[in-house]
Amino acid sequence: MRRRRKGSVVTEILTWVVVVIAVLWVLFPFYWTVITSFKKPADVFRLSSIPWLQFTPTLGNWQTEFTQRGPEILRGITNSIIIAVFASLLAVALGTLAGYGLARYRYVKWRNQSMAFWFLSQRFLPPAATVIPFFLLMKSLGLLDTRVALILVNTTFAMPFAVLIMKDMFRELPVELEEAALVDGCSRFEAFLRIALPLAAPALVATVIICFSFAWNEFLFALVLTYKHATPMTIIIAGTEHTQGVQFWYVSTRLLLAILPPTLLALTVQRYIVRGLTMGAVKG
């Protein structure tokens, strides 16, 4: 729901100024990444901000990446997509359910706040201390170097976010709609599904995006739990550092390749999720 201000032109202009600054601030590093991916290695550290003016762009880096590392990069991206999609969906599913429960119901044994805090506390422990136990766990389950292992791990770490955010969102929603539905004969779950969920659609999208980004960028567990078949893109990117130093030009190409799928997802899927959910809200 947007605010409508009886706008002054000044406010509009100010708004756009802020937007432009924010967008520039966000996009500049990406711009830099793009031009670096077209630079010869010797140009990377020279004064080379403007293509054609200060340096000659070259396709060499992209060519090498696609020809020499193409299959590996493709596998990295595929793995990343699969892991992130499933992990975020699972985390959001579990988390939304839990968030709804915490928002709407009172529990006998513990205060809801404490439970929320307990969910949050799962994220407190630094990963380095839990990596070895996870490794041993996955090894005993025979899940080393599988995508399933990473999906499980990422769901575990993303879920607290989903729980907390959705809990707050649900609490903001007025209860009477659901109460009306219950009176009409819906089960609690149906009330949740048909009424609360669509109303919380914007928040749901936000949560999916956040969880997806966490899974997408996860590095440490991917490093320890995978060898060759399930390596996501983050490992491939880390592979640009080697004994001759960091190869910044390849960092750029891989960064761009790595950021493409989530951006595409964010651009397209957003609208569909919201539309799909709000359609159900018309009834009830």
């Binding site: 601030w25 009172r106 969910f119 422990l125 380095a128 964010a266």
Partner: protein, 313 residues
């Protein structure tokens, strides 16, 4: 306007002007029923996948470890070693600095952006998607990108500063400036996080509230302070908490941007835990530090949690 505590009626903390006309606000109370089903899947998951690692790590923190094998009981010696380790305190100090700066900046900027973007203006939607892009940048790659951009001789940032008349800033070779560089990169990456969630929160506030408010007062600041902020406060609190918890575990950016240097000036505690635990396999010490970090974050988190709830509810 605040939300009800569990099981209690609403507490009207706003000027009467709002509550008078609309009876709906009273309805924001909890269904007074007990219901476990919704939380069970999540609880089950957490128990399965986090209890074992937590318990195991605690046991390890009390042991002597060599090459990943527990070779003896160390009692509290790992913890004692930690308190005498000047590097531990140094990293703790830097971590706290980073947390403070990062949390404040990302929340403030995120909130500001969310407010700006919450208008019904054409074209804002497209830019919104762009603003989420930093979240998808793998932190490792971001650090390396930072190395290029903060490159002191000819990197874009120093070139820009040169045009603005300032000198060459030793971004990566000086302890203080390196700290700032890390904070900047961290803020760049995490502001969208606050932005997205706060924006969703703002969008959930229904229009009718604002319309009612505008009738009574047209001061933007008053509307913000008495309506938006309180309604948003739970989400705001959550964002701060989440951001704080994650900032304590900041690792990727110091790792790839400065490797904790120069010296150990920009080494975070998690970085130290990582090198001790997974590079040197001194798992006993690493687990001890990890539990200490856990304790600190818990304490700070709890304090913040309680105080925040008191203030706003």
């Amino acid at each position: 306007m605040s939300k009800a505590k569990e099981g209690e009626g609403t507490r009207a903390s706003l000027p009467l002007l709002l509550c008078s006309g609309k009876g709906e606000w009273k309805m924001r109370r909890r269904l007074r029923e007990k219901g476990n089903a919704f939380v069970i899947p999540a609880i089950f998951w957490v128990l399965t996948f986090t209890i074992f690692p937590l318990v195991y790590s605690f046991r390890v923190s009390l042991s002597k470890v060599l090459y990943g094998k527990l070779v003896g009981f160390a009692g509290a010696s790992n913890y004692l070693r930690m308190f005498g380790d000047y590097r531990f305190w140094g990293t703790l100090r830097f971590t706290l600095v980073l947390v403070l700066i990062s949390v404040c900046a990302t929340t403030a900027i995120g909130l500001g952006l969310a407010i700006v973007f919450n208008r019904k203006m054409k074209g804002l939607r497209a830019f919104r998607s762009i603003l989420t892009m930093p979240l998808f940048t793998a932190p490792v790659a971001l650090g390396y990108l930072g190395v290029m951009m903060f490159y002191e001789e000819n990197g874009p940032i120093n070139v820009l500063l040169k045009y603005l008349g300032m000198g060459k800033v030793p971004w990566l070779s000086h302890p203080l400036w390196a700290t700032l560089a890390i904070c900047l990169v961290d803020i760049w990456q995490w502001t969208p996080f606050a932005f997205i969630i706060l924006l969703a929160g703002l969008q959930s506030i229904s229009d009718e509230i604002y319309e009612a408010a505008v009738i009574d007062t047209s001061s933007g600041w008053a509307v913000f302070r008495y309506i938006t902020l309180p309604l948003l406060s739970p989400v705001l609190g959550t964002v701060i908490m989440l951001r704080m918890v994650d900032a304590f575990k900041a690792f990727d950016i110091p790792f790839s941007l400065t490797s904790g240097g120069p010296g150990t000036a920009t080494r975070t505690l998690t970085f130290y835990i990582y090198t001790q635990g997974l590079r040197n396999f001194d798992l006993g010490y690493a687990s001890a530090m990890a539990y200490f970090l856990l304790a600190i974050t818990m304490v700070i988190g709890l304090l913040f949690f309680r105080r925040y709830r008191e203030l706003y509810e």
